[in-house]
Symmetry: C2
Subunit: 397 residues, 2 copies
């Protein structure tokens, strides 16, 4: 039996890279970069007008010129047009690239334009106004997003702007979600009074999908030989096996025996926590990891978030997520000497403090409760009395 | 010119349902339910053993019987086996359905089993122990998830467990993201020194993808007739048009004229905010909405989160998201009489308080900055001096 902290440490020691792959940048959303994204040009790449109006040389204004002949109209995407005389200006549109001979943009609001003559009607023209300068945001060769960052919508746009049509990203581990047990029937079937429908595997698959993992699913019947063959195949074809149930040491749990026979080394079994005490974790010599969650759906859900997703981020090279804390919204008691993961809803008070309100439902086994809550708050096992206002770490799901 | 609050109110008044559709439940993740999910049986559907051991009638123990003949072994999914005599027990596995003749499960740890005889070795057996009672979580006909809830991984599992292989969900509005301007070239092209690559549209499309919307993209050249034809087609084929740029009143902005010619009514133009002051919002008589965001990528990104996603949730019938607050991590000054959306990173201190640390970069136009921040904090326009520790609303992206 290990503590939550020990279990976390053992899981987090099992990190390896699953390699890299080049994907079209539009498919890279939410993937982890394996390369830096570097600007191919300054950003902006030219002195860019930020208002519609006229572009002039500020020296002309300093010399007392306030009326300008419009030589040309230049819109965004046009080749820049220069001015050769002091009283010449270019009518310019937002986004246009300024010619080196102009350095100030005067907006329409500060102008009167008639017969190709633009007269400045407002005071206080400042040299360089209404220009977003070349390189003001980034210099050519600057890193705009670094290896190890997740590709966010903002980074998608940055990749596009620097011409990175393909991005090198971390490969994702191949994951299979295994359910087992002859008591489980398919969603479309009508169960006998003593049977239930498979559901846990769909929850796990969906939670993984929300974290970018397309997991396969497999159901294994309660039969020793088939169990060993199928788990053996999974160990060859997947990097991670997620099991839900079937791992206790009851007479008809074929999975522990199959794992042992196939050379999966147990790294721990049982964690001082509720839910999820029977959590089993192991590793095959050739790399595959086995997270065997207890059959209780809430336990599976908690362990998935508390251990597997933490491991996944680290395996992909992401920095550890910043811890999220919340204050208990009500007093709470929990006697057993176990780390307790209490289902809560979260909201912010107007002091910016996050409040966790326990929704206990029918205890840790009440899966239906998860539909109405949004996080687990982790209550330390050394204590049994928890007071409103005390702050603990929360795990959002 | 409207305030942020007025703009929000005008946008949020444009709600309509886009209808409903039946989808395979596995495809319903993150969609909004249009129907309640109701249990077809009690949950659990039978008195369920939660430990491996033996099942007995507690009356026998009360009568002084501590050794039981094992009549049969019943595992999860087996038809329940009853006991006919007081000193008879069933060896039972976790998940098995208890026969009405037994009411107590004694785990292996409290037993010594030899030659088909199970002797209780521990004190304090409690009637009903280690049983998850039929209907303890939900009664047949109870609502486990209600219309208007988002289908979370937990709700996926609940749907599976009650046999809902298909779910009725809200249809999503059809959205097109339009970029315009001849200065914009494709990601794979090498721009001329006065051109830039399209990028904003990819950011918007990716942000929408993270909210479940598969948007189409369209680029419109700077040509009046083509602009009108293409926007006209979009008004027929989409529920929402998102424009980025091209909406200012410069000489070569064909889009405002096209929108007017096509009968899109302006509901507001310009909001007292930075970034995003030139934000334009309108509606076509036949329903389609036009969100015309300013060309500045940060402005587009902010308006998308502050207005469009808020509108989207409401249009889909979701309750308003609970506001998120954070305390400023540093003093901050902003003079103009505009609501300022400052880019920040977020973290929790150990008091459970969310702290927003401003990352100003090169001002509101610095798109590269968005890669390193995670929210906008909204600073009221009535003030210009903001102190460390003051709490304001934040908009996570």
């Amino acid at each position: 039996m290990v503590t939550v902290a020990q279990a976390e440490k053992i899981v987090m020691a099992q990190l390896k890279s699953y390699g890299h792959e080049l994907v079209p940048f539009q498919n890279a959303l939410n993937r982890v970069l394996s390369e830096d994204i570097v600007t191919d040009r300054d950003l902006p790449p030219f002195n860019r007008a930020t208002m519609d109006g006229i572009a002039v040389s500020h020296k002309a204004i300093a010399d007392g010129i306030f009326t300008f002949h419009i030589k040309a109209t230049q819109t965004a995407g046009d080749e820049p047009v220069g001015v050769d005389d002091a009283d010449i200006c270019i009518e310019i549109m937002t986004g246009a690239a300024l010619h080196p001979s102009v350095d100030t943009v005067i907006p329409y609001e500060a102008l009167e334009i008639r017969n190709k003559l633009a007269a400045i009607t407002a005071d206080g023209t400042r040299k360089g106004q209404n220009i977003h300068y070349k390189g003001a945001d980034k210099r050519q060769g600057d890193i705009v997003a670094a290896a190890g960052q997740t590709v966010t919508p903002a980074i998608m746009g940055l990749a596009a702007s620097v011409g990175k049509a393909e991005l090198l990203v971390q490969k994702l581990p191949r994951v299979v979600v295994i359910s087992s047990g002859d008591e489980l029937v398919d969603v479309v079937d009508t169960p006998e009074p003593y049977q239930i429908r498979r559901s846990n595997n769909y929850t796990v698959k969906a939670a993984l999908a929300n974290h970018g993992i397309k997991a396969d699913m497999l159901h294994i019947p309660d039969e020793a030989a088939i169990t060993e063959i199928q788990i053996g195949q999974c160990l060859q074809n997947y990097d991670v096996i997620l099991l839900s149930g079937g791992i206790s040491m009851g007479k008809f749990d074929y999975i522990p025996k199959a794992l042992e026979a196939l050379g999966v080394e147990k790294l721990f079994h049982k964690v001082l926590q509720r839910p999820g005490k029977p959590f089993w974790f192991g590793r095959h010599a050739e790399g595959p990891l086995v997270f065997a969650f207890p059959g209780n759906p809430v336990a599976t859900f908690m362990c998935l978030h508390r251990y597997f997703l933490l491991w996944l981020d680290a395996a992909l090279g992401l920095p550890a997520k910043k811890p999220v804390y919340a204050a208990l919204g009500t007093d709470f008691k929990f006697q057993p000497a176990l780390q307790y993961f209490l289902q809560v809803t979260l909201n912010f008070d107007e002091q910016g403090r996050q409040i966790a309100t326990p929704i206990e439902g029918n205890g840790s086994g009440d899966f239906a409760n998860l539909a109405d809550t949004e996080a687990f708050i982790e209550l330390p096992m050394e204590r049994s009395d928890f007071k409103k206002g005390e702050v603990f770490r929360v795990w959002k799901f």
